[in-house]
C-alpha cells in the first residue's frame, strides 16, 4: 500500500513539475532593459481588420528601423484580428505576459478602475510634447480630459474625425426609382414617405434595416443622442444619462425622448418598413444592401465620403445624407484610446513610442500600409494605392481598415479616390461639434458592478426589440423600466449623480 501512495505522489510531483516548467518558460530572461543608452524592447498590440499575414517580420523590421533610430526603442509588433484582440490583450494582462501598449473599444474606464493602466502625466510632459501639440491642433484643447481620472491621464485617444453624425445611407438608384431625391430628406420625419414609395416600387425590397445585428441595433439611440443632446456619461447601458445641461441623471429609457423614438420605430415596423425578424436577424445591412434586398440603414460616420466607400464595398450605388448632428460626450472621444500597461517594465519607452505613433508620418503609414513599393505605391502627397495587380487580400501586408484606430488621421495617407478635403472637414468638425457640458466626466463603475451586470442583461433583453420596433413600446416599455429598476437602476443613477456632482464641484474651482 505504501508503495502505491509513493507512485501517486510521484505522478503528482511530475504533473506539478510539468506545470511549473511551462509557467517558467514564458518570459525570456533576456530583456532586462533599464539602463539608459541600451535599446529597450516593448510589446505593441495592434488591431487589424484586414487579413493578417503569417510573417510580420518584414513590417516589424521597417517599424524598428524607424523607432530604434529615433527613440532607441525596439518594438515587438503583434497584430490581432478584431474578434480576438480584446481577448489576447486581456489574457496577456491577466497572466502577466509582456504587454506594453494596447488599445480598447469602449472599455477605457474599466481598465483604469482595475489598475491595469499606467498614469501618464509625468511621462507625457517629458516625452509626449509633440503628441499633445498635434492633439490640440487637430481636435482642440482639452481632448485628454476625456482620459483623465482623478486628475491623472491614463490614455491617449486616437486622433481622428471624432464627430460621427447619423447619416441616412441608402441605395440611390432605388430612391430615384421611387421618385425622390436626396433633397427631400432632411430628418428622420421625412423617411416614412420615402420608405412607402420604395416599398411600392420594389415589393421584394426591405426599406430599412438594423446596421448591426446580434444584438440588432438600428442606431435609433445614437440618432436621439445627437438630436437631443444626450450625454451617456461613459457607460453604454443608457440607464444613467443627462439630457441637455440640467445636470440631472435620469434613466434614458424612462424619458419621453426614448418613448417617442420607440413609437416611431414601432410605426415603421407595423407598416412593414423593417423585416419581421429585424430584432433577431443575423444578416447585417451591409450584406442586405450588397445583395440588393435592402434600401437603407442609419449609420454614424465622420466626413462625407462614406457613400463612396460603401458603394465600393457593396457594388451598389449607395449615397449617404446626414440627418442629425453629433454631440461630444466623453465616451464618444475615449472609445478608442491607447494605453500603457501598468505592468510595463519600460513605461518611458512606451510613451516615447506613443509620441512617435501620433506624430511620425512614416511610422503611422508603415503600420497602416506596410512598405512602399512592396505593399503600396504612392499616388501623390496624400494618397496611396495597391501595387498593380494586387488588392487588399493579395498584397503581402496592409492594415488599411485600421485608419480609425491608430495615430493621427491628418498624417495618414488616404486611399486613392478619397478626397483630401474630407480630412480637413473632419478636423474642422472636431472643433465645431457641440460638446456636452459634462465632457471629461468619467463614471467609476467599480461601486455598482453588480447592478451594471444585471442592468446589461435587461438592456440586452429589451433594447433590440424596441429599437427595431418588433416590440410594442406601449406594453413593453413599462416592463422594461420595471425590470431595470429591479436590476438596481436606481443605485446606478444615484452613484452616477453623486460622482457627477463631485466632478462638477471640482471643475468649478
Amino acid at each position: 500500500m505504501n508503495r502505491k501512495k509513493g507512485l501517486a505522489a510521484l505522478c503528482m510531483a511530475a504533473a506539478l513539475g510539468g506545470s511549473v516548467l511551462t509557467a517558467c518558460s514564458g518570459p525570456n530572461p533576456s530583456s532586462d532593459g533599464g539602463d539608459s543608452g541600451k535599446v529597450e524592447e516593448i510589446v505593441f498590440a495592434m488591431p487589424s481588420f484586414n487579413r493578417i499575414p503569417d510573417d510580420l517580420s518584414r513590417v516589424a523590421n521597417a517599424i524598428n528601423a524607424i523607432t530604434v533610430d529615433k527613440i532607441g526603442v525596439k518594438i515587438d509588433y503583434r497584430v490581432y484580428g478584431p474578434a480576438d484582440y480584446a481577448q489576447k490583450v486581456n489574457l496577456a494582462l491577466q497572466s502577466g505576459e509582456k504587454m506594453d501598449i494596447f488599445t480598447t473599444l469602449g472599455q477605457f474606464s474599466n481598465y483604469v478602475s482595475k489598475n491595469q493602466v499606467y498614469a501618464l502625466d509625468d511621462l507625457l510632459a517629458q516625452h509626449g510634447k509633440e503628441m499633445t501639440a498635434i492633439l490640440d491642433k487637430d481636435f482642440g484643447p482639452d481632448l485628454l480630459k476625456a482620459n483623465t481620472i482623478n486628475g491623472q491621464i491614463y490614455g491617449i485617444p486616437v486622433n481622428k474625425g471624432m464627430a460621427l453624425p447619423i447619416s441616412f445611407v441608402y441605395n440611390a438608384d432605388m430612391l430615384k426609382g421611387a421618385g425622390f431625391s436626396a433633397d427631400d430628406i432632411e430628418s428622420a420625419e421625412d423617411l416614412p414617405a420615402v420608405f412607402e414609395a420604395v416599398k411600392n416600387a420594389n415589393p421584394d425590397v426591405v426599406p430599412f434595416g438594423p446596421i448591426n445585428v446580434n444584438p440588432s441595433d438600428t442606431n435609433l439611440v445614437n440618432l436621439l443622442k445627437g438630436k437631443h443632446k444626450v450625454d451617456f456619461l461613459t457607460d453604454t447601458t443608457g440607464v444613467g444619462v443627462v439630457v441637455g445641461d440640467d445636470g440631472k441623471v435620469v434613466n434614458f429609457y424612462e424619458t419621453d425622448l426614448f418613448k417617442n423614438g420607440a413609437r416611431m420605430m414601432r410605426d415603421w415596423y407595423n407598416k412593414g418598413y423593417l423585416q419581421k425578424d429585424a430584432a433577431t436577424t443575423t444578416i447585417t445591412s451591409m450584406e442586405m444592401i450588397a445583395s440588393g434586398r435592402e434600401f437603407s440603414f442609419l449609420g454614424g460616420y465622420s466626413g462625407l465620403e462614406i457613400g463612396k466607400t460603401i458603394s465600393a464595398q457593396s457594388g451598389k450605388n449607395v449615397e449617404a445624407k446626414r440627418i442629425s448632428p453629433f454631440y461630444f460626450d466623453t465616451g464618444a472621444v475615449n472609445a478608442v484610446s491607447w494605453m500603457v500597461s501598468s505592468t510595463s517594465k519600460a513605461p518611458e519607452a512606451a510613451v516615447k513610442f506613443l509620441n512617435l505613433l501620433y506624430t511620425d508620418e512614416k511610422l503611422i503609414n508603415t503600420i497602416l500600409y506596410g512598405i512602399e513599393g512592396e505593399d503600396y505605391v504612392k499616388v501623390d502627397e496624400h494618397h496611396v494605392r495597391f501595387p498593380d495587380g494586387k488588392d487588399a487580400n493579395t498584397v503581402p501586408y496592409t492594415a488599411m481598415f485600421s485608419t480609425g484606430i491608430v495615430g493621427s488621421e491628418s498624417l495618414q495617407y488616404q486611399f486613392e479616390g478619397v478626397s483630401w478635403s474630407d480630412i480637413e472637414l473632419k478636423l474642422r468638425e472636431n472643433k465645431e461639434t457641440e460638446r456636452s457640458p459634462y465632457f471629461g466626466f468619467i463614471f467609476d463603475q467599480s461601486q455598482v458592478k453588480t447592478q451594471i451586470s444585471a442592468v446589461n442583461n435587461v438592456v440586452n433583453q429589451y433594447l433590440p426589440g424596441l429599437v427595431t420596433g418588433s416590440l410594442d413600446p406601449e406594453t413593453t416599455l413599462p416592463k422594461f423600466v420595471k425590470a431595470l429598476n429591479d436590476a438596481g437602476a436606481a443605485d446606478l443613477i444615484k452613484s452616477k449623480q453623486e460622482q457627477l456632482d463631485q466632478w462638477l464641484a471640482s471643475q468649478g474651482k
Binding site: L7, A15, K114, P215, S453, L471
Partner: protein
C-alpha cells in the same frame, strides 16, 4: 514478514492498471485539481497593480450579481428544469434507442443506424443554430413557408415567442445527443449474459417481458452512474444550445436564460475575473452538493448501486 512478501506481487498486478490510469489522472490533475487553487479569486477584488495575491478580500460581494435581480430566479429555474428534462428524457430515449438497436439481428444494420444517430452530436452548435434558423426564420423559414402557409394557419414569429422554446430546445437537445447517449446503454446491453434471455425464452417470456424483467433491471446501475454524473452538472448548461441556437434573441430570455448565458452577458463588458470565478464556484459547489445528496439517497435505497 508475510506482509513484505505480499507487496511485490501486488505491485506487479496494479502497476499496469495504474499506468493505464495515469494519463486520465494527469488530465484531471492538470485541468481540474490544480486550477482549484484559484478558488480564492472568487472572494477578491482583483486589482492588477497589486496582483492577485495582494488584492483586497471582499467576502461574498462577487456573488451578489447572481442573486441580485428577478433574473436570478428565472435563470436558476431554467437551468434546473432544462437539465432535469434532459436527464430524464435523455435517459429514456437513449435506452429506447439502445434496446431497438440491440434487437436488430444483423450487426451491420445496428452499426449503420447507430452511426446515423450519433452523427448529430458531431454538428457544432453554431451550425445547428443555422439549421434551426432555416426552419424557423419568420420570412423564408421552412416551417412558416412550407407548412403553416400552405395549411392556411397563421405564421409564427418564432424568435419572439418565448413560450415555444422550452419544447424546441428540449427537442433539439434530444435530436443532438440521444443517439450518442445510447452508445453506453447499447454496450451494457451487449454485455448482458445471453443465457439469461435463453432461460427466459424457455420459460415462455415474450420480447417485451424479456426487456421489462431482464434488460431494464440490469441497466439500472448504468442509469444511476450516468444520472449521478449528469446531476453533478445540473447547474451548468450547454452554452451553445442556450446562446447560439435562440440567436441571442432578447425576447426569448424568459425561457432561454440560464446561469451560463447570464454570466456571459453580464460580464462580457465588465470583464471581471473575480465575479466570473464566483459564478463558477457557485455552480460547482451546488453540483457537488447535489451529487453527495443524491448518492446518499441511492445508498439508502440500494447500497450496491451507489457511486461511493
Amino acid at each position: 514478514m508475510r506482509h513484505e512478501y505480499g507487496r511485490p506481487s501486488e505491485w506487479r498486478k496494479t502497476a499496469p492498471l495504474l499506468m493505464l490510469a495515469a494519463p486520465g489522472l494527469l488530465y484531471f490533475l492538470i485541468n481540474s485539481y490544480i486550477p482549484m487553487f484559484g478558488v480564492f479569486i472568487a472572494f477578491k477584488d482583483i486589482n492588477y497593480a497589486k496582483g492577485i495575491f495582494a488584492s483586497d478580500w471582499v467576502g461574498f460581494d462577487n456573488f451578489q450579481f447572481l442573486f441580485k435581480t428577478t433574473d436570478a430566479w428565472i435563470m436558476t429555474r431554467n437551468t434546473l428544469l432544462y437539465n432535469l428534462a434532459f436527464i430524464v428524457l435523455g435517459t429514456v430515449i437513449s435506452i429506447f434507442i439502445a434496446i431497438l438497436m440491440s434487437e436488430l439481428l444483423r450487426k451491420l444494420y445496428s452499426k449503420l443506424f447507430l452511426s446515423g444517430l450519433v452523427l448529430p452530436n458531431l454538428i457544432s452548435m453554431v451550425v445547428l443554430s443555422m439549421l434551426v434558423f432555416a426552419f424557423l426564420n419568420a420570412d423564408s423559414g421552412f416551417v412558416n413557408k412550407s407548412i403553416l402557409r400552405p395549411l392556411g394557419l397563421p405564421e409564427l414569429n418564432w424568435y419572439s415567442e418565448a413560450k415555444y422554446w422550452p419544447y424546441l430546445l428540449v427537442f433539439i437537445q434530444m435530436w443532438k445527443t440521444a443517439g450518442y447517449g445510447s452508445i453506453v446503454y447499447f454496450a451494457s446491453i451487449a454485455g448482458i449474459d445471453k443465457s439469461i434471455y435463453e432461460a427466459a425464452k424457455i420459460d415462455g417470456a415474450g420480447k417485451l417481458r424479456q426487456i421489462r424483467t431482464i434488460t431494464l433491471p440490469l441497466l439500472k446501475p448504468t442509469v444511476i452512474v450516468l444520472g449521478l454524473i449528469s446531476i453533478g452538472r445540473i447547474f451548468n448548461s450547454d452554452f451553445g444550445l442556450f446562446y447560439q441556437v435562440p440567436l441571442n434573441a432578447g425576447a426569448l430570455y424568459s425561457t432561454t436564460q440560464t446561469i451560463d448565458t447570464y454570466v456571459y452577458r453580464a460580464l462580457m463588458q465588465l470583464n471581471d475575473i473575480g465575479m466570473s470565478a464566483a459564478a463558477g464556484l457557485y455552480q460547482s459547489l451546488v453540483g457537488f452538493m447535489l451529487v453527495v445528496v443524491v448518492n446518499a439517497i441511492v445508498k439508502r435505497v440500494n447500497s450496491e448501486n451507489a457511486l461511493f
